[in-house]
């Protein structure tokens, strides 16, 4: 190393500083504030304005739905496409019918839009949703679920509630 010129020594020094810079920056931020992952319970997303039944909020117990909703949808999808079985309880259309909510202008927000029901959890869990590349993200016709009940009277989204009441009423008169 004795033949190294002062210029190359200076260059080596600068290069090593440059390489160490990111490490230093990381160390700084670690000291300033330790960030913890947002707990799941603090996730906020729009509550659906109606429940499946008096006893049950969703089509299966909520804990079950959180863990296994994709299995129900997967099973239903094959039965529907190949065998024409069109029961409503685990139909993706009914998921959207309940979980899509209206914005201030009275229009439905896509259920996979930021802040909405599907998006909230999926972005938290970093799981990409493929469903809505093909499937509708907004309700288009009245729900055909027979057991819809117990509309939450204290729900903030009055527009949606009145809309669903109207849908249910028109459904009742149609039958």
């Amino acid at each position: 190393m004795s033949h190294c010129s002062p210029a190359s020594r200076l260059f080596a020094l600068l290069l090593s500083l440059l390489l160490l810079l990111p490490l230093a920056a990381t160390a700084d931020s670690d000291e300033e504030g330790e960030t913890e992952a947002l707990p799941f319970s603090e996730l906020s997303f729009p509550e659906p304005a109606r429940h499946f039944s008096a006893e049950q909020k969703c089509v299966a117990p909520v804990e079950e739905m959180r863990r296994n909703h994709m299995k129900y949808i997967l099973h239903q999808r094959d039965e529907t496409v190949h065998e024409g079985i069109r029961t409503r309880q685990y139909s993706l259309e009914e998921c959207v019918n309940c979980h899509a909510v209206k914005n201030d202008e009275g229009e439905y927000t896509p259920v996979n839009a930021p802040g909405q029901f599907c998006y909230s959890c999926h972005s938290y869990a970093a799981v990409h949703i493929d469903c809505f590349q093909c499937h509708a993200t907004r309700p288009e016709r009245a729900s055909k679920l027979p057991a819809l009940s117990s509309v939450d009277e204290n729900h903030p989204n009055d527009g949606l509630r009145s809309d669903i009441n109207a849908l249910l009423a028109s459904e009742g008169s149609a039958q």
């Binding site: 065998e83 024409g84 079985i85 093909c134 499937h135 509708a136 309700p139 016709r141």
Partner: protein, 252 residues
């Protein structure tokens, strides 16, 4: 037991089964049959091979320039204006009107052309993933969950009935999911048929008072379509291919 007596047994059994069904159907009153046109199957029951859905197109009643069936299909299934980025040749087309002309005489005719719902569909033969399939009741569909968009089926189809989606779609109909990278075609309005209804094109044609399209069960002797097929001549397009199509034509 020899083979020939086996065959006789099967023939006899078939005859007995049909005779039983006929006597059951005729039980109401002489000349009155209890036929259920497009009966609503319970939603939790799978489709069966006891029915085969078909459409009879009477081109004599098909008015030149009429597009009612096409617009009804677009509206029902949400295609037509959903692909702003695609060229005209790329855009989805589930049903189209075709004008055929006799070069010698100049006599022209219009007819609707869509998936013919073959009994032995070439699209199903060539599909490498099993996405292209024929439902038990004869409706030929694409399972877009397993379609990889290779487009072999489009090349295999002699009727040019299938389309490929080239761009992201938005605001699809909940009952007719469609998306980029998959192939699609006429579904004979499977969502309506499963609910005991008739396809949108057939409904629009009768609403427009043309009545050129008859939809029904080809296996039910008492259905309107079976009676119509029995009473007058009809043809399959490209009958030489032996595909036994579910869509048949009259007057061409």
């Amino acid at each position: 037991m020899s083979e020939s007596s086996n065959l006789t047994d099967i023939a006899r059994r078939n005859f007995l089964a049909k005779a039983g069904a006929a006597s059951g159907a005729a039980a109401i009153a002489p000349g009155v049959f209890l036929s259920t046109p497009a009966s609503a199957r319970p939603a939790d029951q799978p489709v069966s091979g006891e029915k085969r859905w078909g459409i009879l197109v009477d081109t004599n009643k098909c008015a030149s320039g009429c597009n009612d069936c096409v617009t009804a299909c677009e509206k029902e299934n949400g295609w037509g204006s959903s692909e702003p980025e695609s060229s005209e040749a790329q855009k989805a087309q589930w049903i189209r009107t075709v004008e055929i002309r006799n070069k010698a005489t100049g006599y022209a005719k219009t007819l609707p052309m869509m998936c013919q719902h073959c009994e032995t569909p070439p699209c199903v033969d060539v599909c490498p993933t099993g996405a292209s399939f024929r439902r038990a009741d004869g409706i030929v569909l694409v399972d877009k969950h397993i379609c990889i968009g290779c487009r072999y089926c489009m090349m295999a189809c002699p009727y040019k009935a299938r389309s490929f989606i080239h761009e992201d779609l938005h605001d699809q109909k909940p009952w007719a999911p469609r998306g980029k990278g998959t192939v699609e075609s006429c579904t004979m309005c499977v969502q309506r048929v499963d609910a005991g209804d008739i396809p949108a094109c057939v409904e629009a044609c009768s609403k427009g008072d043309h009545n050129a399209l008859i939809f029904g069960d080809l296996y039910d002797e008492n259905s309107g379509i079976s009676k119509a097929l029995k009473s007058q001549d009809s043809v399959e397009i490209r009958a030489d291919l032996g595909l036994n199509t579910g869509v048949r034509y009259r007057g061409i």
